[in-house]
């Protein structure tokens, strides 16, 4: 039995019926990580002293290992957001999601690499160096949750948590051939997630099996008194959506997403996948989302503005890596100059600019209006359709170094994923094939607010007749 190829829920079952022991499972995954991580740089830190699972719970994922992105606070662990400015910072509290997964008996193996402060779509903006794509080490794993996606892809753990502000769970999931799920904004508490774009950030699961995703979602969702923006929407048992029944579901394909910039191979794989849904009784038709082209500029203004403010706290005064300086102003300037990477500086400056006197109306306020338009547009579609399907990314994974000096081209890789963050609706990326070069292609499904069950149903249906999610990179098979 190849343990690393089992789904999380399967591992849990086998531990419960004593086919496997907890220790065996943990040591196996740790062994794999020790052996393969140096090649991929998926993990930033492997916990030597892994905490044993709490005995309180008997959840579907009890005893299952999980990797956590380096921007989610774990008590007594170093958390750096892949930035020099937080090097050595030890969190003194658990994020709410961490409390929940600990309570449910999952085992945290370590923290994963990311783009610094989640700024990026390639995992190249990390102070630890890039994570490499397990399918081809010349290529990026996507970002910013590149470490989590690569880790699940290479079988370092069946589960991982990532964060998604403009596509940071879904795009790396699609680049690494795994499932990445972005819940509705407010569905999962943000308390303990180092903020990037506060009105956009969502924590979500990465895995291969949609069943794992559903169980993990159940565990991490829910209203949190510590997060004013978390939703009181009732938590549905997402696992009851794990059924192969999508007959009659109306699915829209936005014509603005299937245009010239879309890579031909990506298009081919996605269209093949759509046929699967059709064959299972779903109705597919073309829809319009005319404001699509304004999503990226709108997003970059809003997210950078929020980020520029959220990152002001990193000044070396109360915590973090403080640079010695002769006076206070020097402390700020030197600490931030040496602590932040290039992309972080770009975003902070862009955000500061958009909010500054004389520019606020022209940029920030306008972006708020565009956001409203995009949200309304999507809500209008959902009056008649239950889901929208698009490619996750306009291109397959690109090469390391290819876009790093061209921020604009990097930003454009988020074009399909951004609308879901701007509007707050949930979305998922499913592996749906490969390019001729053997690089993974992902399919994105979006649904209306709080309709994660529709996404789960569609994903389950798709996974019941396809095997893309079961394919491992050759080297890590």
């Amino acid at each position: 039995m190849e343990i690393h190829k089992l789904s999380g829920w399967e591992i849990s079952q086998k531990i419960k019926n004593k086919e496997l022991t907890l220790n065996r499972v943990i040591s196996l995954f740790k062994e794999r990580i020790r052996r393969f991580n140096p090649q991929l740089n998926s993990l930033v830190s492997l916990f030597e002293d892994v905490e044993p699972p709490s005995s309180e719970s008997s959840s579907e994922l009890w005893g299952v290992p999980i990797l956590i992105k380096d921007n989610i606070c774990i008590k007594n662990r170093e958390i750096t957001c892949a930035s020099k400015i937080l090097k050595g910072f030890i969190s003194c509290y658990d994020a709410t999601v961490i409390e929940k997964i600990k309570k449910a008996g999952l085992v945290i193996l370590g923290t994963t690499n990311m783009d610094e402060f989640a700024f990026g779509s390639s995992c190249e903006n990390s102070c630890y160096g890039p994570t490499l794509n397990p399918y081809n080490k010349q290529y990026v794993p996507g970002g910013s949750s590149g470490g989590s996606a690569a880790g699940v892809s290479a079988g370092f753990s069946p589960l991982a948590l990532g964060s998604d502000t403009g596509g940071s769970i879904r795009q790396p999931a699609s680049f690494c051939g795994v499932v990445g799920f972005k819940p509705t904004y407010g569905r999962v508490s943000r308390y303990g997630l180092v903020a990037f774009g506060s009105s956009l950030d969502v924590i979500g699961p990465l895995a291969r099996d949609i069943r794992d995703v559903a169980y993990l979602l159940e565990i991490i969702s829910g209203w949190d008194a510590k997060d004013s923006t978390s939703s009181v929407q009732e938590k549905r048992p997402f696992s009851s959506a794990l059924e192969d029944n999508i007959k009659g579901l109306k699915i829209g394909l936005p014509k603005e997403y299937f245009v010239a910039g879309l890579n031909k191979e990506v298009e081919k794989n996605v269209k093949e996948a759509i046929k699967v849904f059709e064959s299972k009784g779903a109705y597919i038709s073309e829809i319009n989302l005319p404001h699509t082209e304004y999503a990226v500029p709108c997003y970059y203004i809003l997210s950078s503005s929020e980020a520029s403010s959220n990152l002001s706290r990193f000044d070396g005064i109360r915590y973090g890596a403080r640079k010695k300086a002769k006076d206070l102003i020097e402390v700020y300037k030197k600490t931030r100059r040496e602590g932040f990477g290039k992309e972080a500086k770009r975003r902070i400056m862009l955000g500061t600019f958009s909010l500054s006197s004389g520019y606020y109306e022209a940029y920030y306020l306008k972006a708020l209006k565009v956001r409203s338009l995009i949200k309304k547009e999507l809500q209008e579609v959902f009056r008649h359709y239950q889901a929208i399907i698009t490619p996750t990314s306009p291109t397959p994974p690109f090469q390391i170094g290819e876009r790093i000096e061209d921020p604009l081209s990097m930003y454009l890789s988020d074009i399909y994923t951004i609308p879901s963050n701007l509007s707050g609706i949930p979305s998922v990326s499913l592996p749906c094939g490969f390019t001729k070069e053997g690089l993974p292609v992902g399919l994105q499904i979006m649904a209306n607010h709080f309709s994660e069950d529709i996404l789960i149903r569609l994903s389950f249906s798709y996974q019941s007749v396809t095997n893309w999610h079961k394919i491992y990179p050759r080297e890590y098979d």
């Binding site: 921007n71 989610i72 606070c73 958390i79 957001c81 937080l86 910072f89 969190s91 003194c92 509290y93 994020a95 943000r190 308390y191 303990g192 997630l193 180092v194 903020a195 774009g197 506060s198 009105s199 008194a225 510590k226 997060d227 004013s228 923006t229 503005s305 929020e306 403010s309 002001s312 706290r313 990193f314 000044d315 005064i317 109360r318 915590y319 206070l328 700020y332 500061t352 909010l355 500054s356 006197s357 606020y360 920030y364």
Partner: protein
């Protein structure tokens, strides 16, 4: 020669009397050991989020209503971005575009001072400056704050002080803040400019900071008015700047000019939702306001026939005026009760260093004490002595006086012996009196008072002594 007039606006920050901070559950306490009232949220650690204190909104709303403001139906919070070591997140969660209350007013004497806005925000921490370094204490960071900005309707330094006194009174009355300036619960900055009398525009204004008492506010404004007048009359231009009040030198000084004017880059706080202020909530807070100082003043003036000066003292603390009115229920002589309160009672409170809210004495017994003096059962002196004790141990003054054997000696037969003794022992005083020095008799009265430990009724004594001396002649 042109006549100049002062145009003054005041910006007041008031700490709200809540149990916990604005956005986290840390205790809202003063004077604790440094960095003992902090948590990840008010420290601005990575990943934390603010959650709004309901009581802070209630108190802010109550204050805005008491200041006659128009209440915003839907409020939001905004981030005010700037870097400073006492500001943990390097932004302050405040209100900018949608403040809680607007366009209110406060009446000082007979003049209405308009209030531009009342809004809520969080306080910053404290800095202590040593010679070569500074220290940061974040206990105060995150404490709920209310900012009250007036229009520049104030036209004199005295008026400014009166405005502050009235504002403090109002806020104390409605239970929003104790406004203790010594503890920094109330802070005030002033904006002042001069203009030609009758001229509609505004001159260049200077901002004044670092005034630590209402007196200092008045003094700083007085100084600044003089300084600006002198400059203008000499043909100099007033520089728009911030000046600090130096209480030692009694002058305002230019603050070291900052590098740039602040660009606060306000934008809506994404970590907080919007807040709808319902009519029910407004009505609820209105009902909790009860009587404002101005209303009490009017009522006291109409019902009790006291002087304005007396009224100001009695109403200066809600507890005091309540005690006054409670006492009247048992002894309905407002003027007399008032005198007892503004005199002996306040003196006793001072001596014992307690506030009216802390005393054990009940109004019924206070009334009895006064009645006993009026009925000559005890002397004034004895009453004052008893008062000191009653404040700490409430009981019937009659009982206490009997226990201590302090009831007045008014029985003339009892006193006659002592009077004769006084006359015999103090011939010079008697002589002085016979020679026409009327005051000499008080010496003799005092002599007997001492002998009786204050129990002798001085008026009766005076009469007796006079008669005895005249009879002896």
């Amino acid at each position: 020669m042109i006549e100049l007039e002062a145009v003054i606006g005041l910006e007041v920050h008031v700490q709200l009397a809540t149990e916990s901070k604005m956005f986290c559950s840390c205790p809202n306490l003063f004077g604790q050991s440094p960095n003992s009232l902090i948590c990840p949220v008010c420290m601005g650690l990575p990943g934390v989020l603010p959650v709004l204190n309901k009581k802070a909104v209630e108190l802010g709303l109550r204050a805005a209503l008491a200041l006659n403001c128009r209440i915003k139906e839907k409020i939001i919070f905004e981030r005010k971005n700037y870097f400073y070591p006492d500001l943990p997140k390097n932004y302050q969660i405040s209100q900018y575009s949608n403040p809680l209350g607007e366009e209110g007013f406060l009446t000082v004497g007979s003049k209405k001072i308009r209030i531009k806005r009342v809004h809520l925000e969080e306080d910053a921490g404290k800095l202590i400056h040593k010679e070569k370094y500074s220290l940061v204490d974040l206990n105060r960071a995150g404490v709920p704050l209310m900012e009250i900005v007036s229009y520049p309707d104030i036209s004199s330094a005295q008026e400014a002080q009166d405005y502050l006194k009235e504002l403090k009174l109002i806020l104390q009355y409605i239970g929003v803040s104790t406004c203790d300036m010594e503890k920094g619960f109330l802070r005030c900055d002033a904006n002042i400019s001069l203009r030609e009398k009758g001229f509609p525009g505004l001159g260049t204004k200077t901002e004044l900071k670092n005034m630590n008492s209402f007196n200092q506010v008045r003094q700083a404004l007085e100084y600044e008015i003089k300084r600006q007048k002198k400059s203008i009359l000499q043909g100099e231009k007033i520089v728009q700047e911030t000046r600090l009040w130096d209480d030692n030198k009694r002058i305002t000084l230019t603050m070291r000019t900052k590098e740039e004017a602040h660009d606060y880059r306000y934008f809506p706080e994404p970590d907080l939702v919007s807040f709808v202020i319902s009519k029910q909530e407004i009505d609820r807070q209105k009902a909790l306001i009860k009587e404002l100082p101005s209303q009490k003043r009017k009522r006291f003036r109409e019902n009790y026939n006291l002087t304005d000066k007396d009224i100001e003292v009695i109403i200066s603390e809600l507890g005091l005026s309540n005690f006054f009115e409670e006492t009247l229920k048992y002894y309905n002589y407002p003027k007399k009760v008032c005198n007892w309160i503004t005199g002996p009672l306040l003196e006793a409170l001072n001596n014992k260093r307690v506030s009216i809210g802390e005393i054990k004495l009940r109004a019924i017994n206070f009334a009895e004490l006064i009645k006993m003096v009026e009925g000559k059962k005890i002397t004034n002196l004895v009453a004052k002595e008893l008062l000191g004790e009653l404040i700490e141990n409430d009981q019937s003054p009659q009982t206490l006086a009997e226990e201590r054997n302090l009831l007045s000696i008014s029985e003339k037969s009892e006193l006659l012996g002592l009077v004769r003794e006084a006359i015999n022992e103090n011939p010079k005083a008697v002589e002085d009196f016979l020679r026409g020095k009327d005051k000499a008799i008080m010496f003799l009265v005092g002599w007997v008072m001492r002998k009786t430990k204050g129990k002798a009724d001085p008026n009766i004594l005076k009469e007796l002594i006079e008669r005895q001396i005249k009879e002896a002649k």
